[in-house]
């Protein structure tokens, strides 16, 4: 496969320049891909560990919460949890990892005076401990959200980069090389034919 061009010297220089650029681009992209994969692997390992941890702890917390609820009448539970004691909101910064924008979360928490939004008289001790674990879990859950998103975004970017690297490596660069070869051969051929023509003319002139 080659690009259709006129076999002229000007085309040849132009194509050679393009080839140099393509090769440099390929090298740069390849380096980017390697670095991205390295970062991605580190991060995805963290992601996996954190997810397992969070899932395990959450299930545990839910269990103790269910236990706590079973010991109290439903309306008391609803009532005691009606007003949350803390307000959590987050700030988001963008961070650039190898040209991928990933979110970084900063938690800001407006603590109430008390972790527990209810009086201690009507509620069970299990409820307290379940709520304490869940509140402590929140930063970890947000960390998980952050890392997981970063992994997804990086996976997308790696896929994109790989496609570009492959397009350069297996399509554009071979195409350019073939075309350059074709033009060189064509030019050589032209030169040979003009030389024979000259020799022939010279011969005719000598005879004449």
């Amino acid at each position: 496969m080659e690009i259709r061009v006129n076999p002229t010297r000007m085309e040849l220089t132009r194509l050679k320049k393009r080839l140099v650029t393509a090769k440099r681009g390929h090298k740069l992209l390849k380096d980017k891909q390697d670095e991205l994969i390295k970062k991605f692997l580190d991060m995805v390992k963290q992601n996996k560990l954190l997810r397992e941890e969070v899932e395990c702890e959450l299930v545990g917390a839910f269990k103790s919460f269910t236990m706590a609820r079973s010991q109290m009448p439903a309306n008391v539970v609803e009532e005691s949890l009606m007003i949350p004691s803390a307000r959590v909101s987050i700030n988001i910064r963008k961070e650039n990892i190898m040209s991928v924008n990933v979110p970084r979360l900063e938690i800001s928490r407006e603590e109430g005076k008390n972790l527990f939004p209810y009086g201690l008289a009507n509620t069970s001790a299990e409820m307290d401990s379940a709520i304490r674990t869940l509140s402590a879990m929140l930063p970890k859950m947000l960390k998980l959200a952050e890392i997981e998103k970063a992994c997804q975004l990086m996976a997308d970017e790696i896929e994109k980069t790989r496609r570009r690297v492959n397009a350069l490596e297996y399509v554009l660069i071979p195409q350019l090389e073939n075309t350059i070869k074709y033009i060189t051969m064509k030019l050589d051929e032209n030169e040979r034919s003009s030389r024979t023509r000259l020799m022939k003319i010279k011969e005719m002139v000598m005879q004449g």
Partner: protein, 109 residues
């Protein structure tokens, strides 16, 4: 300032009430999907959703996969985990590298 929300079934939502994040109970998938779209519009940056609900509204969640915000994170519900969250991590490894080298290694051990 961004907000954090949880979409989950009634029982799971109750446990998150006291942590100070906004909780939204959803019974079925249509309710969950509507709620999700609403939260996205209302500037929620992090949305936790239970695997049980997420499983049914997969397409909606995948819409936001390649966007920086919102971050939609799956959590187990009080009925336990379905393993979707962890298999999503696995999927991104496969997408990025082609083969899954992190989880596979564990299987052999």
């Amino acid at each position: 300032m961004y907000k954090i929300g949880v979409i989950a079934d009634r029982d799971t939502v109750l446990s998150f009430k006291s942590t100070g994040i906004d909780t939204f109970p959803a019974v079925d998938e249509t309710e969950a999907a509507d709620r999700l779209m609403k939260l996205v519009r209302e500037n929620y940056a992090v949305i936790f959703i239970t695997e049980q609900l997420a499983e049914k509204i997969r397409e909606r969640i995948d819409l936001f996969r390649d966007k920086m915000l919102p971050i939609i994170t799956l959590i187990p519900s009080n009925r336990g985990t379905l393993g979707i969250g962890i298999s999503d991590v696995k999927k991104s490894v496969e997408k990025a590298i082609g083969v899954d080298i992190i989880f596979e290694r564990e299987g052999r051990e």
